[in-house]
Amino acid sequence: MSARDLTAQPWTEPGRGSGLLDVVRRRYLLKLLVRKELRVRYRGSVLGLAWSYVKPGVQYVVYFLALGIFLQQSRNIEDFPVYLFSGLVVVNVFTEAFGNATRAVVWNAPLVKKIFLPRELFPVASVWVAGVHFVPQLVVLLVGALLSGWRLEVLPVLGAVLATLIIAALATGLGLLFGSLNVVFRDMENFVDLTNMVVVWLSPVLYRWDQVTQVVPAWVGVLYQLNPITVAVELYHYAFWWPGTRDTPATALPPDLLVNSLVAVVIAAAVLVVGQLVFRRVEGRFAIDL
């Protein structure tokens, strides 16, 4: 065979991709990786995907009994069951996405070591899997909200969409950051588990936001309100809880929710950028350190 002139073909450097853009380009592979993770998660399990109902269901009942009934939050907060669940689904999807994305690269070590792929695919697939588990919870939430008098309004629904995007960007960014560092220091897994344990208490999921701001210094209150997860939780309250309440005035929602939402968007976007940059810095060591 005669060697052809290849001058028209561009040169490339192997192993240097364009990060998250490659994930978009290879979405078919992403789809298959998500499907694989879902299949593998529920292998040999009779209940299968139903586990993604059972776990949050049990967690919900426990919180409802302990906080709603025993600690009487039901008296402080109108429609407490819906209030609790709309915050809980946000925290659940975040902690699942963040925790699994952190472990994604290590879990896929055989692939990472042997074949070059855009490695961002693995954390992104984990976030996507959390999204799949999130959908049934959202359906349950919607049914519960409807039963307690929820009605469709445009602005609240837009708020929910925005909150979902904030959570997705935040979990992906943090997942890229900690997932790459986890290859070098496995301590990250434990650190992330610890963070995930605390998240539900650092956002107004089990109580009202003003129960915090009343007792902490003003600047702590501001920080508390700027936590993107707090913002996402409040937006979910605004979307699924508040429209169904009868006696709760709009002023009961935290003030500056719009401004806080914009700040949360900026924070989530910044975290995504930082996560991607760190991931690319550390990526060169994946095949060596795994």
Binding site: M1, S2, A3, R4, D5, L6, T7, Q9, P10, W11, T12, E13, P14, G15, R16, G17, S18, D22, R25, R26, Y28, L29, L32, L33, R35, K36, R39, V40, R43, P110, L111, V112, K113, K114, I115, F116, L117, P118, F185, G284, A287, I288
Partner: protein
């Protein structure tokens, strides 16, 4: 593989496919890095880093359609060089540049999952190796026919014998459509008839004008299959010439 465009290497000719330019690969051998160890090292002023040079200034220019064997004893750096070309690792210094799509047949079946069926694994691995859905669908029947496991294609791979597993994995890998194939010790696949079939398939790829870089300890096969041989020793390139001469050189080492 979607990879960013890079600058053209200086030593490239018009028909170059792969240009490896003065590549060094240094590994840091760290045995421990717990907090205790780090603290002890800081107090005693001992360096934890114990470095090892796997490749020490290797340059290589592979033309389109060439079949190059990387030869060397264990630990000579051949697999490291292959990993640098595939992009799994990045060199400590120097550069690697490619033209065209690349597929690594480095340890076939790396992307296989035991809990998925043969069919699902074919799609997953095809996608991992860079094929899109239409391409996999178009080649699906060929892949299955080549692997000779039609009856078991919808069985979970964990129930396969190791030979069946490797046959399917190899079959997916050789039905991708890259210009450059990296082949690492995969011809030890399956029984003898299947090995012969694999070798025939690789000759076909070669005759189609694809570029092959082969790592193998089967010297007879290599000198038969490849047109050129490069011998590595302790991370240095010590010979570059015809495959037969390279094998002779390696045997004299």
């Amino acid at each position: 593989m979607s990879v960013l465009p890079a600058s053209a290497p200086a030593s490239a000719g018009p028909t170059s496919r792969i240009v490896v330019d003065d590549v060094r690969m240094q590994f840091v051998l760290r045995h421990n890095r717990s907090l205790k160890e780090l603290a002890m090292a800081a107090v005693r002023g001992k360096d934890l880093g114990n470095t090892f040079m796997a490749l020490d200034g290797v340059s290589l220019n592979v033309d389109s359609g060439e079949t190059v064997a990387l030869l060397g004893h264990n630990g000579s750096g051949k697999s490291t060089l292959l990993k640098l070309i595939s992009g799994v690792m990045h060199p400590t210094s120097g550069s690697v540049r490619l033209r065209g799509r690349i597929a690594g047949l480095i340890e076939v079946g790396a992307g296989f999952h035991p809990d998925l069926t043969g069919r699902e694994n074919v799609y997953l691995n095809g996608a991992i190796l860079g094929m899109d859905e239409a391409a996999i669908r178009a080649r699906f029947d060929d892949i299955v026919a080549f692997s000779e496991i039609e009856r078991f294609i919808d069985t979970e791979v964990k129930h396969y014998s190791s030979g069946m597993f490797l046959r399917l994995a190899f079959s997916v890998a050789v039905h991708t459509d890259p210009e450059i194939f990296l082949i690492d010790e995969i011809l030890s696949v399956g029984d003898e008839p299947f090995q012969r079939k694999c070798l025939d398939r690789i000759r076909e790829l070669k005759d189609e004008g694809r570029t092959l870089v082969v790592v193998s300890h089967d010297l007879n096969m290599v000198s038969d299959l490849c047109s050129r041989g490069v011998v590595l020793q302790h991370g240095n390139q010590v010979f570059d010439g015809s495959a037969a001469d390279a094998v002779a050189h390696l045997r004299s080492l």
